[in-house]
């Protein structure tokens, strides 16, 4: 297939995944803001910006850091490349550029989402509520489902899936690192998982928010059948082999997808993916804590970016 087409497909799915992740982060952020924890409202309001690395850009707008302003900024701001509205726009533009290479059902669905988003915006009350974020998530599920159900298991599919998992791994690692660092700064956590009562309450909400934002709350209960603690949350989201948003799961998929791409230029991305997969398959949460969870996650994020670049060089760039 054409390199340009592969590139459009890869970015199409990355943008859809990014829009979904943004919706997840903002939705959970909002529900947390409803809890009576007024003392660090400014802190929690900024969290979506910290996770997605857009804090400086937000400050540059001169807006006050309220939950509402942040949500509006990350959902509807056209100047913000990663805002949901821009992600959907970019996904649709990428789809339009290759509408001959995706199924007509996929194109119609993506186009429809884009049209509906335009209508929601035109209505004049740019929504930032749970209903809206649920809709975005459902759109993403729908597009993924239609893709799964209609496209041949061929290169276009592989590039679409690679985009999804590289973006998703990035997102899970970011959420975990920000939430964990927030917890690490509060004195109770790290020392003991059974610290004093009030801190435990805060942790509970914060950690369950992490889990909910990656659809893993039920998985946690099923797996541990115990109260929520930071180390287990990290273990689940990094090393769990069957949880669809864990780093391990993402890299199992990525390695498998890379194996199906044409051989010629594949050496570098395959090697990178295999090394990361090995680390996640044979690693342990205790080792991650020995290195320091933040360092571990930062290392992972860097390598995930490297893999994206290697993929770009090997397949997607016009030489």
């Amino acid at each position: 297939m054409l390199s340009r087409v592969a590139s459009h497909l890869y970015w199409l799915s990355r943008y859809i995944e990014r829009a979904e992740n943004m919706a997840r982060i903002l939705d959970v952020g909002q529900s947390l803001s409803l809890l009576a924890q007024s003392d660090n409202e400014a802190q929690t309001a900024l969290e979506p910006l910290v996770i997605t690395d857009h804090l400086a850009e937000f400050h540059a707008t001169g807006k006050v850091a309220t939950h509402e302003n942040v949500a509006r900024y990350l959902t509807w701001e056209v100047e913000q490349a990663s805002s949901i509205v821009n992600c959907i726009e970019a996904a649709r533009e990428n789809a339009r550029a290759v509408r001959g290479s995706i199924t007509s059902e996929m194109w119609e669905c993506i186009n429809d989402v884009w049209l509906q988003l335009g209508q929601k915006r035109q209505a004049g009350h740019d929504p930032i509520n749970t209903e809206f974020y649920d809709w975005i998530k459902q759109c993403s599920h729908l597009i993924r489902g239609i893709t799964f159900a209609t496209i041949r298991r061929d290169q276009p599919y592989h590039f679409i899936r690679l985009g999804t998992f590289i973006e998703r791994a990035d997102n899970t690692a970011r959420i975990l690192s920000v939430k964990q660092s927030a917890n690490a700064t509060s004195p109770s956590v790290g020392a003991s998982t059974n610290g004093d009562r009030s801190a435990e309450g805060e942790d509970y909400y914060s950690l369950s928010a992490v889990l909910r934002s990656v659809s893993a709350l039920e998985a946690y209960r099923d797996t541990y059948k115990d109260s929520i603690d930071a180390r287990r949350v990290a273990e689940l989201l990094i090393f769990h082999p069957t949880l669809p948003r864990s780093l391990r799961f993402c890299y199992d998929e990525i390695a498998q997808l890379l194996d199906q791409l044409p051989d010629g230029p594949s050496r570098v991305p395959r090697r990178l993916a295999a090394m990361m997969k090995a680390r996640l398959t044979y690693g342990h949460v205790d080792e991650a804590y020995e290195i320091g969870l933040l360092d571990f996650l930062e290392g992972f994020l860097k390598e995930n970016v490297h893999l994206g670049e290697a993929l770009q060089t090997a397949y997607l760039e016009l030489k």
């Binding site: 297939m1 001959g100 007509s104 230029p265």
Partner: protein
């Protein structure tokens, strides 16, 4: 619903002068009588919604926000009788064959010039004549593989060819989308009529492109200027329907005289390029150096015969207004036949006799610049003031060879669903002709309609719409 009566002095496709329907419209009129304006409104709203959902749009430049617009698709079909189509089909095949012979001749022996039928400076002074094509042998001597011929019906009831589009004719995707939409909206109508199918056009097009090269199992691609081009929907649509790659200039490169596309498995050779890009943009080394859309070195590979380009480079010389009047001569000269389709009578002002006639009849005529387009630098006699006509007379006299003149045509009308109900609006017809080892076309073509009352302008950029076109038996 009942269609409003025919316009004075205009041929109506549906109604005879006495208001009764023509035979091939009788069944439709019956059906129309049994439907209501509300039902038609609902159908049209449904059609608009579906067109928008499917993204069947054309791009408009320089418009904030709404850069993608729908081409209005009318819900009343344009119906052509099978008998009339048979004549049109024969006439089109004949005309397009003669034009291809002409193009081969003009880039080789130039017999038609030697025979004195066309003044040589009409050819050599033409911007569209590509010197680079002289002496180049093309497979099967085919130059114009895909031709869109603009046809109108005059008040005398006869068809006239208005223009031969030999470069990158577009609109066929609307023909196919209109049919799909009509079948979806009005299945009962299709049960009442034996409408000849058009859905196999992409398959015919693919066969034509595959057959345009001597290479076995050729790699055919569609070259688009990209998604900002107004016809981008059509490019993606056709590529998908044919199952071929849709490429942009940046996807192709020339190496060792061959053309390749960049793929995830490395370079892959390209044999046939169905290009939707004008000559001047196709190769920055040979034509416009500022073109970012083309492929450097493509012309040299083409001249070596390593790749087929459809349509060929240099076909534009035959669809120029200054060459148009000679097409009937081409039919006689190359085929030894009388032309089946009429040209609009054209006076060539460089001829003293023609000029005399034109000068004597300026208020009745349309006078056009030979290389002009888009209504620029022309005189429409009937709608001009005396002073304008006298001014134009001086301009014309100062350089007669720059002008041709034609009678003002009354385009036929067809009932169309508009504000006032079902009322007559002016239409034209663009059938698409495919040239391979034989000449093929699907029945009908794209009917364009001027939706504004009294307007003769059918262009989509100026309030024009389209209609599904039925050939019925």
């Amino acid at each position: 619903l009942k269609p409003n009566g025919p316009l004075e002095g205009v041929f109506d496709e549906m109604l005879q002068a006495d208001g009764r329907p023509r035979e091939h419209y009788a069944a439709y009129q019956d059906w129309l009588a049994g439907t209501t304006a509300d039902a038609m409104h609902a159908k049209r709203a449904e059609a608009d919604l579906i067109f928008r959902r499917l993204g069947i749009t054309f791009s408009v430049y320089g418009e904030e926000g709404g850069t993608e617009r729908l081409i209005p698709s009318d819900v009343v079909p344009r119906i052509i009788s099978g008998q009339e189509w048979t004549t049109l089909e024969k006439g089109l095949a004949q005309r397009v064959l003669a034009i291809n012979r002409f193009l081969h001749d003009i880039y080789h022996d130039q017999n038609i010039l030697k025979a004195g039928l066309i003044p040589p400076d009409q050819i050599f002074g033409n911007d569209q004549f590509q010197v680079a094509m002289v002496g180049i042998d093309l497979p099967f001597k085919t130059y114009a593989h895909i031709v869109g011929v603009d046809i109108v019906r005059h008040s005398d009831g006869d068809f006239y060819v208005l223009e031969d589009n030999l470069r990158v004719p577009s609109g066929v995707s609307y023909m196919l989308s209109n049919r799909k939409m009509m079948m979806r909206l009005f299945p009962d109508l299709f049960r009442r009529h034996a409408v000849r199918p058009v859905e196999h056009y992409p398959s015919l097009l693919l066969q034509t492109l595959q057959g345009a090269t001597e290479v076995n199992n050729p790699n055919v691609v569609l070259l688009t200027p990209g998604r900002f081009n107004s016809a981008y929907f059509e490019h993606t649509f056709l590529a998908q329907q044919m199952g071929i790659e849709l490429v942009e200039g940046q996807d192709l490169f020339v190496q060792g005289g061959f053309v390749f596309m960049r793929t995830t498995s490395g370079p892959q050779k390209v044999d046939v390029i169905y290009r939707r890009l004008d000559d001047s943009f196709i190769d920055p080394l040979a034509f416009r150096a500022d073109s970012m859309l083309g492929v450097p070195g493509l012309l040299s590979a083409y001249r070596l015969g390593r790749v087929v380009i459809a349509n060929a480079i240099g076909t534009g010389v035959a669809d120029d207004k200054s060459i148009y009047p000679y097409v009937p001569e081409m039919v006689r000269f190359y085929l030894g036949e009388e032309p089946i389709l009429k040209n609009v009578p054209t006076w060539i002002c460089r001829n003293a006799d023609d000029l005399k006639h034109v000068l004597a009849h300026l208020p009745e005529l349309v006078v056009k610049e030979v290389h002009g387009a888009g209504g620029y630098g022309m005189l429409v006699g009937p709608t001009s003031t005396k002073a304008e006509i006298e001014d134009f007379r001086q301009v014309l006299l100062s350089n007669p060879s720059n002008y041709i003149a034609q009678p003002t045509l009354a385009l036929s009308s067809c009932p169309t669903f508009v504000e006032e109900g079902v009322a007559p609006r002016h239409i034209d017809l663009r059938p698409f002709v495919l040239v391979g080892k034989d000449i093929r076309m699907v029945p009908g073509g794209l009917t364009r309609v001027a939706l504004r009352k009294g307007s003769l302008v059918v262009n989509s950029s100026q309030g024009g719409g389209t209609k599904d076109t039925w050939v019925v038996d």
